[in-house]
């Protein structure tokens, strides 16, 4: 028989839950005092150095090839950057062009869709735009963001204050022009969403109901229940469909195409179902491939969607683009640690923003609930692995409690269903009622803080720092906006701001320039020469496109028969 569960939890975990219940009333009374737990800069450093996966030794190495040679990145990222191309350039005929368009957008998530819409607003006809995407249109981390989107629109807030929050959260490593663009465009983006009919939570006067986010000095988080990302994504996708913007699904780009004059001239797509390739020539190319969660850096579970395999980083790097801040990985403090079926899935920061406090096995507070994400995550790991004040699950995971019933006590019965229905529903499916019982959490791999470096026009930068005139990027694939750590509510904002800027910039190029120069894959061959020198196993190829979760036994017995390839 399987373990006996009471309200979704095994009996031994119930004992700890009772301790959490005992301290709850007092903790709610003293909620204000939690601020006193906020760490100083020096204390933040101490905790990060010992307990954050980015700082702990053994997870990274120096890049041996390409523009960023000599820089330190996570091993899993180095593995795909220092790899043989998945595609053999000799098998491709670049003279036979399948799609000849004004703008090619690689990636059909948030950034790609926003870029397409703004290029279209700028006068590029829909039929001259092509979105190529690996899974379905909208299958992206954009769809999964729950908590909300930041914009400084309240009278006692300002883009300047928003800027400072972004900067401090990012350890002061952020690029000025990008943070300025992010925070000044933010209110415009919200206005655009209002006009498109995004159903944000509002009060009766029409002002947004705004909440705290970790590491923010003002309440400026706009949300749509805890389906914010889904609501925005499905609205912009609906608009793209209304405008007949062509989308090729299950056809990821596997290599960029360069030109004889050192530009980007399109991409090679690969139809995952028929296995044929397509040559796309474009006056302007927008990279919007998202992040890297499915690389499972340091073996962490992830909140990310199935296709988050950093394909864009790989392709852009081979073509000579400069990457930045890749040594910094975002672990979201609150991933589900129990039950096993949902380990790693995101528990939105909004749960803390609405008042739920993280407590240890004994029901004690140990951290200010709204530190920046890296600090909060490190404090959780410290409590679990440094102090041992955690709850162990039947499968060996460790976690601390997030005391969700506090939300009902503080905001009234029904507050969770009203504001956190996605969370409630997820736990309910596995027999846990988060309005009555706390939930067990542990940090999970969440976001690629850095990426392909861009400027304020969303142009991608080359190794020498000069921009590619025809190559743009928006969303999680680009870097520089968030420095070394992104704050909550700035990823939805990022893809909207820089997706829009990429779309507008690409439209300008498409209007003012002719076709790109002679297409070539010479850069792939040159890169391969470099890879040859460093002893990479032949089996290591990239982009990897999808993770592989097949069972060990199956893989051990798997053979390919040449008759059915």
């Amino acid at each position: 028989m399987t373990l006996k569960l009471i309200g979704g939890y095994p009996e031994y975990m119930r004992e700890s839950i009772e301790m959490v219940e005992k301290t709850r009333e007092q903790r709610i009374k003293e909620k204000e005092k939690e601020k006193e737990l906020a760490l100083s800069d020096e204390e933040r450093q101490e905790v990060l150095n010992k307990f954050h996966p980015d700082y702990a030794p053994g997870g990274k190495r120096e890049l041996k090839v390409g523009v960023n040679k000599g820089e330190i990145v996570p091993n899993e990222v180095a593995d795909i950057l220092e790899a043989w191309p998945a595609l053999d350039p000799n098998e491709v005929d670049l003279n036979d062009i399948d799609y000849d368009v004004d703008i090619l957008i690689i990636g059909g998530g948030g950034a790609g869709t926003v870029a397409a819409l703004w290029a279209n607003y700028e006068g590029i006809p829909a039929e001259n735009i092509l979105i190529a995407t690996k899974l379905r249109h909208g299958d992206a981390n954009s769809m999964m963001a729950q908590g909300g989107i930041q914009a400084a629109d309240r009278p006692w807030d300002s883009p300047i204050i928003h800027y400072l929050d972004v900067l401090g959260g990012g350890h002061f490593a952020n690029k000025h022009e990008l943070v300025k663009a992010l925070t000044t465009d933010a209110p415009k983006i919200i206005k655009w969403h209002e006009d498109l009919g995004v159903m944000y939570d509002k009060d009766e006067k029409g002002n947004f109901i705004e909440r705290w986010g970790g590491g923010t000095s003002r309440k400026r988080l706009h949300s749509a229940k805890d389906y914010t990302g889904m609501e925005i994504m499905r609205v912009i996708r609906d608009e793209a469909r209304n405008r007949d913007i062509p989308v090729l699904e299950f056809s990821p780009a596997v290599e960029l195409i360069t030109t004889e004059d050192g530009e980007i001239g399109g991409a090679i797509l690969w139809n995952m179902e028929t296995k044929e390739y397509y040559v796309v020539r474009a006056k302007a190319t927008v990279l919007a491939t998202g992040g890297w969660g499915r690389l499972h850096i340091r073996g962490f579970p992830t909140t990310n969607h199935y296709g988050a395999t950093a394909d864009g980083l790989v392709m852009a790097y081979r073509a000579g683009a400069r990457l930045r801040d890749l040594e910094s990985v975002q672990y979201h403090p609150t991933g589900a640690a129990y039950p096993e079926q949902i380990v790693g899935l995101l528990i939105t920061e909004k749960v803390r923003a609405m008042g739920a406090t993280p407590v240890n096995k004994y029901g004690e507070r140990f951290v200010f609930p709204l530190e920046p994400r890296d600090v909060e995550a490190a404090m959780f790991i410290r409590e679990c692995f440094g102090k041992g004040n955690c709850v162990k699950t039947p499968t060996g995971m460790r976690g601390v409690w997030l005391d969700s019933p506090m939300i009902e006590e503080m905001h009234g019965e029904g507050a969770i269903r009203k504001n956190l229905d996605a969370m409630y529903r997820m736990y309910k499916r596995f027999g846990i009622d988060m309005t009555k019982d706390p939930i067990l959490v542990f940090p999970t791999l969440h976001y690629q803080n850095g990426g392909v470096e861009i400027n304020a026009d969303a142009q991608v930068l080359k190794g020498d720092g000069s921009p590619y005139p025809r190559f743009f990027a928006g969303g999680e694939v680009e870097g520089g906006v968030h420095g070394k750590n992104r704050l909550m509510g700035n990823s939805l904002l990022d893809y909207n701001v820089f997706g829009r800027r990429a779309g507008i910039s690409a439209a300008k190029v498409a209007r003012n320039s002719g076709k790109p120069g002679k297409l070539t894959l010479k850069h792939v061959k040159l890169f391969t020469e470099e890879v040859k020198k460093i002893n990479v196993p032949l089996s290591r190829r990239s982009p990897i496109l999808l993770p592989d979760y097949r069972g060990k036994r199956v893989l051990a017995r798997k053979i390919d028969l040449p008759v059915l390839q």
Binding site: W156, L167, K202, R550
Partner: protein, 273 residues
């Protein structure tokens, strides 16, 4: 060192290795169940989601796997249990396997979305019927509601749609993940989830009041009133200590003063000039 965190002497690398081990699938399987994937039996560990069980059995998804967290609707699954007449629906990523499940995944749902220019619609009681006339064919069988993996009252919102209550449709359909199971099961051939998308956009655009604060801020930004402050901040960043102090000052004052109206939002930065 401050007073809130004591210094711990730990082996950080060892901790990371321990985490990796804790997060990996257990080596030994204690309990097994048999599932039937499109009719073929496979033994899989008990307690997995349908999605992970299929992968364990050797399937590698191209279609049928998206967010893996219940938000995207890519993994719509239909199944029956052994010996049961009932036809069931689920999201593969959010449902635990049970012994004797007969499973099939739905790779794609053919459905037509109406095209519209939202700016040109004047929403009224018949708008939804104009764009999706088939909603009038609803026979109130409630099959859509039973099929919904989000447990939404789908039939209710169709009934509200027929009556032209856009607000109700928007509210009741809000948690829709557009998996299309309702549309596949509907005997009246209604395309529920596309219709509801129109309703929500109409509601968001025309029924929810516009934010006055947002308008004010947009005017401020357009007037260029923040440009000077951004220049000042850029300069201040040349002195790492100064910018750090300003950041912590604003962070801590903000936590104290939030919602107390500060007339001039540039107050902070001016003080540092």
């Amino acid at each position: 060192m401050g007073k809130k965190v004591e210094i711990l002497d730990v082996d950080s690398k060892q901790i990371m290795d321990d985490i990796k081990k804790a997060a990996s699938p257990p080596e030994e399987v204690e309990h097994w169940v048999t599932i039937y994937v499109m009719g073929k039996p496979y033994q899989v560990p008990a307690g997995l989601t349908i999605m992970k069980a299929l992968e364990y059995a050797g399937y590698r998804f191209i279609r049928g796997s998206g967010c893996r967290a219940g938000f995207c609707g890519a993994c719509a699954t239909v199944y029956r249990k052994k010996g049961e007449y009932r036809f069931r629906t689920a999201l593969a990523c959010q449902t635990t396997v049970e012994d004797g499940m007969y499973l099939a995944q739905i790779p794609f749902v053919p459905a037509n979305k109406a095209k519209y220019d939202l700016d040109k619609i004047e929403p009224g009681p018949t708008t939804l019927l104009e764009y999706y006339p088939e909603i009038a064919r609803c026979v109130s069988c409630n099959t859509c509601t039973k099929a919904c993996p989000q447990e939404l009252d789908v039939m209710y919102y169709i009934q509200y749609a027929i009556r032209g209550d856009i607000k109700k449709v928007a509210e009741l359909s809000f948690d829709c993940i557009q998996c299309g199971l309702c549309t596949l099961r509907c005997p009246a051939e209604i395309q529920h989830y596309h219709m509801a998308q129109l309703a929500r956009r109409l509601y968001g655009k025309y029924y929810l009041p516009k934010s006055p604060w947002l308008e004010r801020r947009l005017k401020e930004i357009d007037s260029g009133m923040y440009e000077k402050a951004f220049e000042n901040i850029k300069k201040l960043r040349e002195d790492p200590e100064a910018i750090k102090n300003l950041y912590y000052k604003i962070l801590h004052e903000g936590l104290e003063k939030e919602e107390k109206h500060i007339e001039d939002p540039l107050e902070f930065i001016k003080g540092e000039d």
